[in-house]
Amino acid sequence: MNEDVTLAKWLNDEMDDRELKDFMSTPEYATYSKIKEFSGRLSVPETDMAALYKNISDNKNKANQPRVRRLNPWIARVAAILVLALGATFFLYATHTTTQRAEVAGRETFLLPDNSEVVLNAGSDVNYREFNWSGNRRLELEGEAYFKVAKGQKFDVVTPFGTVTVVGTQFNVKARNGRLDVVCYEGKVKVTSGTDTVLLTPGKTVAYLDGKNLNVPNAKEHKPGWLNYETYFSKVQLRDVISEMERQYNITISLKNNPQPNSPFNGTVPMNNLDMALDALLPVYHLQAKKAGNTIILSAE
């Protein structure tokens, strides 16, 4: 099946002389020839190619932009608020400090998150963070407390006058008025005050006054006496004994002149009977007491 494409051959000057002669003799040739001639003279109206390109440029830039998908801005906003809220909650939670306080003339017994037991003596504060407690057992103590520490990682008691570090033990820490007393009842206790570090074994006692080791004798009890309202003082200044009594009895004790300022007190003072306490203390310094309401005035005999 050979379809006729002779006209195409002619138009493309592919006819041989014979074919051309034959074709030229046909009556249609005149018109074909004119068509060829005239159509060769046609042209396409010009257009502004620069403007066309500019349109394309504008459009292709536009076309490319939607590929960067913009999220609904509310998603970002809500996400940001959530992150902030969560962050703030976590921050507050992580940095939240729990405070336990024993008021003057009071006691406070509580458990730490690991069930370690703490007994706060009168007028004492403890601060600690519950967050990650088992990973960071550290508390700040101002005053006096008895600890029964659960087994676990090291346990730090930070006082203004030194740090007590323990591993599963029972011990007493007293931090008052520049003086730090630590008694170990069970396990081991490391006490650091200034540059001095002491490792206490059960029954051992250490006391620092203004960072100096006082070399006090070891405690004889198995528990701190104050738990049973009997406070044992060893090489303690009279003013500190008086402060302790003020805390325990919630009274004011006024001492004009200490007749023996250089002799510290050694002995046990009951903390549940004021008269007996005064009887234990006053004879040592030859003082007499006068009660005036909530105030006791001490003076020389």
């Binding site: 195409a8 138009l11 074909y32 005239f38 159509s39 042209s43 190619m49 390109y53 394309i56 292709k60």
Partner: protein
């Protein structure tokens, strides 16, 4: 070969160079296809924008055929495919002689007019092939490439176009 340019058509400079060398021919082709300048311009833009959007997937040596594929697939969907009106500007008609009679010149004008309306009445396929040859001077094999058909098919279209044109012109003498 523009193998040295890793970004290919996506490179602004390559793209604009490509536009300069191919846009006019593409527009002409689309003009023959639609017989309308505005639509030819619009379809030219669209073809180049499509090329840009696909620049990453079209290697430079395939870009030209990509353009013509898009152009071939472009159809006039918004305007009914009625009789297209071509507005070809005439070149200088006074080709060889200046001393032709006014009658002769008038006849020439008439013939040109008839030819134009006859071309407008051709089918899209015949018109495109015919004008690519007559105006752009494309070889048959080049036309075949543009229209994405065989050379034989191009020859058939040209033959058919000439037959049709002569018939129409001679009928309305």
């Amino acid at each position: 070969m523009k193998q040295d340019q890793p970004a290919g058509i996506c490179e602004e400079i390559t793209f604009s160079g490509f536009f300069k060398s191919h846009a006019k021919a593409l527009r002409n082709f689309l003009y023959y296809k639609f017989g309308n300048e505005e639509q030819a311009d619009e379809a030219t833009q669209e073809a180049f924008i499509k090329l840009w959007e696909n620049c990453a997937n079209v290697p430079p040596e395939k870009a030209k055929s990509f353009l013509y594929t898009v152009a071939n697939n472009t159809t006039l969907n918004h305007i009914a495919h009625k009789k297209v009106v071509l507005e070809y500007s005439k070149k200088n008609v006074n080709h060889d002689t200046n001393n032709q009679s006014p009658e002769f010149l008038m006849e020439e004008d008439q013939f040109a007019f008839k030819l134009q309306s006859a071309i407008a009445n051709l089918s899209e396929a015949q018109r495109s092939a015919f004008l690519l040859h007559r105006i752009d001077g494309k070889k048959y094999h080049e036309i075949a490439e543009i229209l994405e058909i065989g050379v034989k098919a191009v020859e058939k279209r040209i033959h058919g176009a000439l037959l049709q044109l002569r018939k129409e012109i001679d009928t309305f003498k």
